[in-house]
């Protein structure tokens, strides 16, 4: 860990001012940032501790729910409204990390969690995300964890989190504050694909801080978060599916799906809902949904398996939600 200047922000405006400084990063729960600072993957000169700002509230905003950026993952998953109205979110959070980590990890920090790519976390390896222009070690290397959707020749890393996948299915919105401004960004647009700028994980500009995530009014339906992993707990997703499904007269009336472990961002493809809504569930239909999801999928050898795995996991989730037996 490099030496850094430690500052504590007392108010949000103060935090945004401080965070706008050069080589400055905001510290919330720290479960990802301190890990990466020890590895010297992150080397801020100034660390702004925002951990004591009053951004931890989870509040009813009349329709939906407003989850403060500093609400711990534990608090969110245990919140009665989340458990009753947004169970896919509770399930996704609980499928990630461990109780100790969730107790410390925050909503905002979790959205900003960086990839687990082995080449990103090893500063002696090439990585365009960590060091633009240095190359991608994973494309011809160990790519088991890596993306099959939306990759670029510069980066095949995945976004590793679970919570954001559920937030994407729920079509939540990220509230952001900068030095003197505020803006809202749909979660589905918050994370970026790697393209030519894999160093950018998301749309946050220097000095911007996430203040909350807002959930739209509850929509009911069946909520499922399905995570496939190599251990039964405490492992990152090989593939995950967040689903909010509703049916009427044996036809889909809602099919909000998002996918984790497959791309540089929680993957959401609106064409899948378009296909499903109004149709009767069947194995053949689910296959078509998977065809849509995976039509541009590209494996890199070691992660080729994710393509059939994603198909099967999607099918499993749709079968579970609809009662179709396949």
């Amino acid at each position: 860990m490099r030496p850094f200047d430690y500052q504590r922000a007392e108010r949000l405006e103060h935090a945004a001012q401080l965070a706008a400084g050069e080589d400055t990063m905001a510290l919330a729960g720290g479960t990802n940032l301190i890990d990466l600072m020890k590895l010297q993957v992150e080397t801020p000169q100034t660390l702004v501790d925002i951990g004591r700002l009053s951004l931890g509230e989870i509040a009813d905003d009349g329709e939906g729910l407003r989850i403060g950026a500093l609400a711990s993952n534990t608090a969110t998953a245990a919140h009665p409204r989340v458990r009753s109205d947004y169970p896919v979110l509770a399930r996704a959070i609980l499928a990630g990390a461990t109780q100790q980590l969730r107790n410390k990890a925050t909503t905002g920090g979790n959205l900003c969690q960086r990839t687990r790519c082995y080449y990103f976390t090893n500063i002696d390896q090439p990585c365009n995300k960590r060091e633009p222009g240095s190359g991608c070690g994973a494309i011809d290397g160990i790519a088991k964890l890596h993306a099959v959707l939306g990759t670029s020749p510069h980066c095949i890393a995945t976004y590793p989190g679970d919570m954001a996948v559920a937030l994407s299915a729920l079509d939540a919105t990220v509230e952001i504050a900068g030095d003197g401004h505020e803006r809202s960004v749909p979660v589905r647009e918050f994370h970026l694909l790697p393209g030519d700028t894999p160093e950018r994980d998301n749309v946050l500009e220097p000095g911007e801080i996430i203040t909350s995530v807002t959930l739209p009014a509850p929509v009911g339906g069946t909520h499922i978060y399905r995570k496939v992993r190599e251990r039964s707990s405490y492992a990152f997703a090989l593939c995950s599916v967040a689903a909010v499904i509703d049916m009427a007269d044996n036809r889909f009336t809602r099919a909000d799906l998002a996918f984790g472990g497959l791309a540089h961002k929680p993957w959401h493809d609106p064409r899948i809902a378009d296909l499903l809504i109004g149709s009767e569930p069947s194995a053949a239909l689910f296959d078509k949904a998977a065809d849509l999801l995976l039509e541009d999928a590209q494996g890199y050898g070691e992660n080729d398996f994710k393509i059939p795995l994603a198909r099967r996991t999607l099918t499993a989730v749709l079968c579970e939600a609809t009662g179709v037996e396949a």
Partner: protein
């Protein structure tokens, strides 16, 4: 006084069955347990020393090359940095188990990615950690041609075992199996990272270290530093897990010592978790071909096991994959052949149960395939193939509970007899199935000494440099002494892990308990002789119980017999011909039930039973815990553990505990352990064999067989991760 015995013949006296205390074998709590559960047991890095400096190893991202220069100033100019140690005596690899001499030097000759080449010492850990990343090292790199792929190089053949004509037997067989398996590399991943704290007084060196075999480690460290052994003292009362990774010294011990000697101050060096993964020891990946030829009744006529493993150039160690294949099953026509590929990955060495941990499970899968072909119950097939005598050498087994373990294990597990067909049970998305495997592990004993003192107050003191790496040494040595001297465990003090005490065997190869236990036993025999002499009776007429000497109708307190004077003996045990004249090994059986997800290929072990026979049980509680540990490793071995090496530069990609998947709590269901008592007179004077590794030898095969029974996926690659299970899953 000292009692020396080289065991050239079985010790059939079973003295420990004639003693009266009744403490041996009892499931007693660990005497050091209270310290461990309260966080007051002191591990290597935790010894207090005033003005202790902190060292951090500097590693280089090059697979092969030579360090040409180190810009010390690049680190020395940083705050708090005191020294850069780049001595030629720095070692670049871990020592192999029982090497007793310096491992590879100089460290500046780089042979694998991530090799340590220097040490940065600073006032604080934070300063040293940063400076170690900053130190400028120039290397003449020679990595382009360095072989990295074990399958792409010509391998060195080790001497084969050949009997009859296996190829012919295969053509004549009624039923046969010819299958090739792979196992990925494993890491020991002991929870305590390698650590050393060294102090130098100008003449002698004291190192608090995390090591398994102190008498060998002392010689290794002295040789590395050009010191005399007498100048080196190692202290390791508690070791936070070893599993082979601390058999020999590693770079942190040499680095801390050199720095302490150069600076005249105590220096602590603790490896980062990443460094432990990248530099210490790996279990080699293996490729194994298993051939079984059988007659119409499923009796083996031919047995073949060939394996390819890898190691660095210059390393003698080769994962002994075929070790138990020598004697587990019959078959007159045999071929066992091991070969070693020379590649540039960190040293391959002992990881818990070297050989059998990956060698038995493949044979056990092949046996399962044979049972299916022969239409036999897999348990029955194994029972039919237990040989009468060692199949390649004309010698008897000393003791063997294999058949009993298979039968009693099957009964406890609720094994359904008869031939099997996969995909018989489904619960929702999950296929449910079960599998069996035999367990086998070679037996070894090693020279060991221990001093036992009977103190005037009637309590006993046991002293040896033997270690307790979680195995239960404190308990079992105390119990052997208590049994022999008629004392409760509370009245026996056991001191371990200090080279100032008599040299034990060290912890490794499951030989610690039987070797050091025998040394304690011999010392106690000497003490009993002395007591008998003091009483004027024959030792064979003396009984000791609850602090009293008993003979004929007489009774006298031991304190009275001692009359204010301590008596002591050093027991000196040496292995002899008895373990050569017999096939001596531990045996057992595993039964596993798994659920395999139809959609995702995820596999969960739902329950597991292990039945084991390993000679005399010294403490039923710690022995059971050893078995539980082994079975937990079976789950990691079968399902999750795999070292991933980059094909381009050979570095270990998953070098931490997030990405190298040791099993977590949720991966491990309720486990049942059956301990089948036996007496193995040839194994050791206390009739005990080893148990620390047996629980890992074959169980992954039971899980693999259960996966097949559940869903019909016969997977030939370990670990059986979802991608591999799905690839083998039948379509319909």
């Amino acid at each position: 006084m000292s009692v020396h015995r080289k065991q050239d013949a079985p010790d059939e006296r079973n003295v420990l069955d004639t003693t009266k205390q009744g403490v041996l074998g009892e499931p007693l709590e660990r005497p050091e347990g209270l310290l461990k559960v309260t966080g007051t047991a002191t591990y290597a890095a935790e010894f207090d020393a005033e003005n202790c400096l902190e060292g951090v190893l500097v590693t280089v991202p090059v697979v092969r090359g030579k360090v040409t220069s180190i810009d010390r100033e690049s680190a020395l100019q940083m705050p708090g940095v005191v020294a850069v140690i780049a001595d030629e005596r720095l070692t670049g690899r871990a020592a192999q188990g029982m090497a007793g001499e310096a491992p590879f030097q100089p460290a500046q000759q780089v042979c694998y990615w991530g090799q340590p080449v220097a040490l940065v010492v600073a006032e604080s850990f934070e300063e040293a950690r940063d400076a170690a990343k900053h130190l400028a090292v120039e290397i003449d790199e020679d990595g382009d041609e360095a072989p990295l792929d074990p399958d792409a190089v010509e391998a060195e053949q080790r001497k084969p075992t050949k009997n009859g004509d296996l190829a012919h037997a295969m053509t004549q067989a009624v039923h046969s199996v010819d299958a090739t398996f792979t196992t990925d590399g494993h890491a020991s991943a002991a929870m305590e990272p390698h650590a050393a704290m060294a102090q130098w007084d100008g003449q002698s060196l004291t190192v608090h270290a995390s090591l398994q075999m102190l008498k060998f480690n002392r010689a290794e460290l002295a040789d590395s530093l050009n010191l005399k052994e007498e100048q080196v003292r190692l202290i390791s009362p508690y070791v936070g897990g070893g599993f082979g990774s601390k058999l020999g010294i590693s770079e942190e011990a040499v680095g801390a010592s050199l720095a302490a000697m150069e600076l005249g101050k105590p220096v602590r060096v603790v490896m980062s978790r990443q460094q432990v993964f990248q530099t210490v020891m790996r279990r080699s990946e293996t490729t194994q071909r298993v051939r079984l030829a059988a007659d119409g009744e499923g009796r083996l006529t031919g047995f073949g096991h060939e394996a390819r493993v890898s190691n660095l150039p210059g390393e003698e160690f080769a994962e002994p994959v075929l070790q138990s294949s020598q004697f587990l099953y019959g078959g007159d026509n045999r071929l066992l052949q091991l070969e070693v590929a020379r590649i540039h990955r960190m040293t391959a060495g002992s990881v818990r149960a070297p050989g059998e941990a990956v060698g038995v499970q493949t044979v056990e899968q092949a046996m399962d395939m044979l049972a299916e072909k022969a239409g036999l119950d897999p348990v029955e097939l194994r029972l039919r193939n237990i040989p009468d005598k060692h199949p390649a050498k004309d010698k008897p087994y000393s003791s063997r509970k294999l058949a009993e373990c298979l039968r009693e294990g099957a009964s406890a597990f609720g094994w359904k007899e008869g031939p099997r067909k996969p995909r018989h049970t489904r619960e929702g998305e999950w296929w449910i199935g079960s599998g069996v495997a035999s367990a086998a592990r070679i037996h070894a004993v090693v020279e060991a000494k221990a001093r036992v003192t009977l103190r005037p107050d009637g309590t006993a003191l046991v002293e040896t440099d033997m270690t307790d790496i979680g195995t239960g040494t404190y308990a079992i040595l105390g119990q052997v002494a208590g049994e022999m001297l008629g004392l409760s465990l509370d009245d026996v003090e056991v001191r371990l892990g200090d080279t100032d005490m008599p040299p034990g065997s060290g912890s490794g190869g499951s030989f610690g308990a039987s070797s050091c236990g025998s040394a304690v036993f011999l010392a106690c025999e000497g003490l009993r002789d002395t007591l008998a002499e003091k009483l004027g009776i024959e030792a064979s007429d003396l009984s000791l119980k609850d602090g009293f000497a008993l003979w004929e109708d007489e009774k006298k307190a031991i304190t009275e017999v001692l009359d204010g004077k301590a008596i002591e003996e050093i027991g000196h045990f040496e292995p002899g011909k008895s373990t050569e004249d017999y096939a001596v090994a531990s045996f057992g059986a595993f039964f596993a039930e798994v659920a395999v997800n139809h959609w995702t290929g995820e596999t969960r072990v739902r329950r597991m039973t292990g039945a084991f026979g390993f000679g005399r049980v010294l403490n039923a509680r710690t022995a059971r815990s050893q078995c539980l540990g082994g079975m937990t490793w079976c789950i990691g071995n079968a399902l999750t553990e795999s070292l991933l090496f980059d094909p381009t530069d050979g570095h270990l990609a998953n070098c931490d505990l997030a990405e190298y998947h040791v099993p977590v709590h949720r991966d491990v269901p309720d486990l049942e352990v059956l301990l089948l008592e036996e007496r193995d007179a040839a194994a050791s004077p206390i009739q005990a064999k080893g148990v620390g590794e047996l629980g890992l030898c074959g169980g992954a095969g039971a899980i693999a067989n259960a996966i097949y029974d559940a869903c019909g996926a016969r997977v030939f690659a370990y670990p059986m991760t979802p991608d591999r299970v799905l690839a083998a899953m039948p379509e319909a």
